[in-house]
Point group: C2
Chain length 582, copies 2
């Protein structure tokens, strides 16, 4: 498996970090999750007065988790690296959240305890509720403040932050116009321009245009959808297909989607109710999302319309719709358990399962198709993206980006929220609008972008970004060594041999004891094991001396065992000799 070569991202790293044009104010933008990443969003806006970085003042936009590469064995989550902020904590004026997706809010519970729980966190209503639910699980307290489109611009030190409603695949998504002494920065995080939004809440085009009448220095823009031409389809464009699938079902109906996709659940519930079906919520994350959305008035669902899983038996099959967590096949999710037959709800012939969800998310595609196959085998009718239009992306296409750029007329464009291929597509699109290369900011993974008050910018400053992995209770303690070992162990297992010796005489005290897992099945390979014991004993005799050099013996045995195992089996288990003096 290939892994991302972050190091390749660092091109032309300067030997010396250039400091600021003295006497000039500047704004430095850093991505603590790294530029060129879709997830773990966390951006630092730093106003540096008069070239003195030690007096900078800071706001942060978003604080999300990332999802590790497939070769990050055993690692659950990844979070932004906050080392850069270590000596600047007292200058952080606030954290501003754009919307409630995990890759924008999920790291708050890990990072607030590091940076300080008094830092105010500004979030829209739905995101704030999601954050609060997560924080209460880990008993972390936060200074949460809710904003909406009516909130007056929020002043924090040299920054005035003005939230602007946009549309996305979760309600309550905002952009920020960030006013600074040197001009406006527009933080255009994840969005699309849904001109026919199902909840009636469109983007505030007027307000964006008003921002554009000011001096917009740079647009930090979502770029994930920019490799698609045209305008992205509206949520309402799938409504007809989605409704048809639900309304036409004869038996039980299961719908799975991204848990936070409140609008999709609202649709599902509405269509189901129109044909007299009641709602069964299956899985923790959907349950939480729907409860929060209901409490906040984003979704109407009477208690009498809900049937708890335990009471399903009392209803006719065509009177129920199941909203199920786990479209991506996460191992502990409700849908995975149903597919594996480990859930109390058993899928059977006559059921219909609707995947109203993306079918490509790195690392999950095979999971999704395996689930579809197994559900089909169980007799269910499965409808999914490859065959039907049942999902639209929450990220705008090229024409939506062109519209935002036209409304804002920013001097510089800094695409974020995409991998390199999306950033490249975004730039090609921008060139069609007349932007030139020097207006397209393309920072390295770990560059900061510093905008100066003389109208220029540079990307010379680099920060240290390491992978901060969450495994079990540990934050950041799974490093490259541990991961490399897990990878080696995964490939061909391990082969350990314990050699007990008398150091003085240099003699072996007992025959070698072998401990091996994941290499070959020991019970069926006694011949190989006996052979290896003899070879190891011989090698030991060659390598030993009186008195013995135990490190030398260990190294000799290791090299030799690696070699003969490879010759005999073609495999390369991790070979671990233990030479112990008794």
């Amino acid at each position: 498996m290939l892994k991302k070569q972050n190091s390749n991202f660092i091109k032309n790293a300067p030997n010396q970090v250039r400091e600021y044009i003295s006497g000039h104010d500047s704004v430095r933008i850093s991505s603590l999750g790294g530029f060129g990443d879709v997830t773990q969003n966390m951006f630092v806006y730093e106003f540096i007065p008069n070239g003195d970085a030690s007096k900078s003042q800071i706001i942060i936009v978003d604080c999300g988790v990332g999802f590790p590469e497939e070769d990050a064995f055993g690692v659950d989550l990844q979070i932004p690296d906050t080392h850069y902020l270590q000596d600047k904590k007292d200058r952080i004026l606030g954290i501003f959240i754009t919307h409630g997706h995990e890759d924008h809010i999920g790291a708050v519970r890990f990072i607030l305890p590091i940076l300080g729980q008094n830092i105010p966190v500004f979030a829209p209503k739905l995101a704030a509720a999601f954050i609060e639910a997560r924080l209460s699980e880990v008993q972390v307290r936060a200074n949460l403040q809710v904003y909406d489109e009516l909130t007056p611009p929020i002043t924090k030190g040299p920054f005035i932050i003005d939230p602007i409603r946009v549309t996305h695949s979760i309600p309550d998504t905002f952009h920020f116009a960030i006013n600074t002494p040197i001009g406006i920065f527009y933080h255009g995080s994840d969005f699309k321009f849904d001109l026919f939004p199902l909840d009636g809440k469109g983007a505030d085009y007027q307000k964006i245009a008003r921002v554009g009448q000011g001096k917009v220095i740079a647009l930090m823009s979502d770029s994930l959808g920019s490799d698609h031409e045209g305008f992205s389809p509206s949520e309402s464009s799938i409504a007809e297909n989605f409704k048809h699938e639900i309304v036409s079902a004869k038996g039980r109906v299961f719908v799975t989607s991204i848990s936070s996709n409140i609008v999709r659940w609202t649709q599902a519930i509405e269509y189901a109710k129109s044909v007299g079906r009641k709602v069964v919520i299956v899985g923790f994350s959907v349950d939480r999302a729907i409860k929060i959305a209901k409490d906040l008035g984003y979704l109407t669902l009477n208690d009498t319309d809900i049937v708890p899983v335990e009471r399903v038996k009392n209803f006719n099959e065509n009177k129920l719709i199941f909203l199920v967590a786990g479209f991506a096949g996460q191992p502990d999710s409700a849908l995975s358990k149903m597919v594996m037959g480990k859930h109390k709800i058993k899928v059977k012939s006559g059921d219909k399962v609707i995947f109203s969800s993306p079918d490509y998310i790195p690392g999950t595609t095979s999971n999704i198709y395996n689930m579809i196959d197994t559900l089909s085998k169980m007799g269910a009718e499965v409808v999914y993206g490859e065959k039907e239009e049942l999902h639209v992306s929450g990220h705008g296409y090229q024409k939506e980006h062109a519209l935002l750029i036209n409304l804002l007329k920013p001097k510089f464009l800094l695409p974020i929220g995409g991998n390199y291929r999306h950033i490249k597509s975004y730039q090609q699109m921008a060139k069609k609008l007349g932007y030139t290369d020097d207006q397209l900011v393309l920072p390295d993974f770990d560059s900061s972008v510093t905008f100066h008050n003389n109208g220029t910018y540079d990307t010379n400053y680099h920060i240290s970004i390491r992978k901060v992995l969450i495994d079990g209770f540990g934050v950041g303690d799974v490093g490259t060594t541990v991961l490399r070992d897990r990878k080696l162990l995964a490939e061909d297992g391990m082969f350990s041999v314990v050699l007990l010796m008398n150091k003085e005489s240099g003699e072996m005290v007992k025959p070698p004891v072998i401990l091996s897992r994941g290499f070959v099945f020991m019970k069926e390979n006694t011949e190989l094991m006996d052979f290896l014991k003899v070879e190891i004993t011989n090698k030991f005799k060659q390598a030993t001396s009186s008195p013995a050099n135990m490190d030398f013996i260990r190294e000799e045995v290791q090299a030799y065992v690696e070699e003969i195992i490879y010759k005999k089996t073609g495999r390369q288990p991790m070979v671990l000799p233990l030479v112990i003096e008794v």
Copy 2:
């Protein structure tokens, strides 16, 4: 990660295997790779005379490898399980190969030595050459016989096998009309009906129609494309885009595709030559495929048009096209090495890289997109499927299946070469043509389908199909235990502790020696290790006796260490205590 639940496939497995209607001839079809699988194609056709299975005569169609699930750590390949043939070797009359893709020919080198190297292998010219090249690598000899559309029907015992030319993403692809004493079986392996094939060699529609004038009992049909409506696009439909990308390039051009896709390479070479570019072949598999295709006359390429990699420097950048192996990111492939900067050819700004290949193959999608990102970072312009029409599938869509069915008018339909979701789509399509449920054969993973001479069939007979995995030199010796261990090791590593004791006195002779990898970084966790040593010593003291029960001690220590490690770290490494008497 979810894994395929093959066991779910076995529904209604009968307690007793029903034997045959006495006095009746029958034909039994078994899939040694399992029904419902796309790869590891190997089908057994068995004529059973007069209900006496011990007198059956056998032909085999295809002999391909499979690609393991993502959780089959360290396993390279999977091959069909030939246990069923163990006691029938002398009744195998021939192996008939449909075309030269690895999932149809790749297992010949493993399976011929098992079944007997004298069994004749009939293959079309190109597939035969691929097989021969592979066999020579491992010094296996085969009785290879080449057929083409002019070959008269091949008679083998009760079977008369008539090859019929069709189109697919590799030249020289055939279907078989298999005549038996009870009627005709049409083996419709991987195909599409390309009505405008670039090499001018279309399918033999006339011959298919003539087969359809006989008594066609069953059509075994490729079903992979059957979840797409309509007719699949012709190879020629991408020609214009593909040509444009090559012809318009200003610097170096790299093209990657499936190595065996000779027609695509032919196109690339033709377009490149039209603008004066010479050809550089990069990577073993492409080199071999092109050499073979050239030798056999499938591809025209003069030696003067080829530039060896070493001589690249002598040419202008716009005078070269590179045909590169490894579109799917296989770790040892040329493209992977180029992406990682480990190849002598370095990708740089101004290069164009064209992915003329599928972007979804189970387990490879993330690899492909990571390569695209890294190549973009390196400054190359990357054109790929998501943005451009640069690849068409080799598998027919619904209308092509409807056409084949209309030409053949088979009584029964048995979809193969697809996962369950494709099989289901195929059946829905067939119902639109008027087929009824009892005409649609849907065997379990391990069922055989037995067609009787009274016009009926049953799926009562089951064969044993286990996963036969190839790891290193071992064929089939990586079982579930080894894989389960690798998976556990991959998740959280291993933690081993060696306890040296005096069995008589029950005393510990030395403090515990810890050996751990992939769990936590030992050097940074001395405190944890010291804590565990103390705890283990205490537990040992509780569990020991005089004389000591060493198994009991090991079990007690193991359970206790698992518990405290989980409590302390939230992780679950494989815990392996070794209690050794000294």
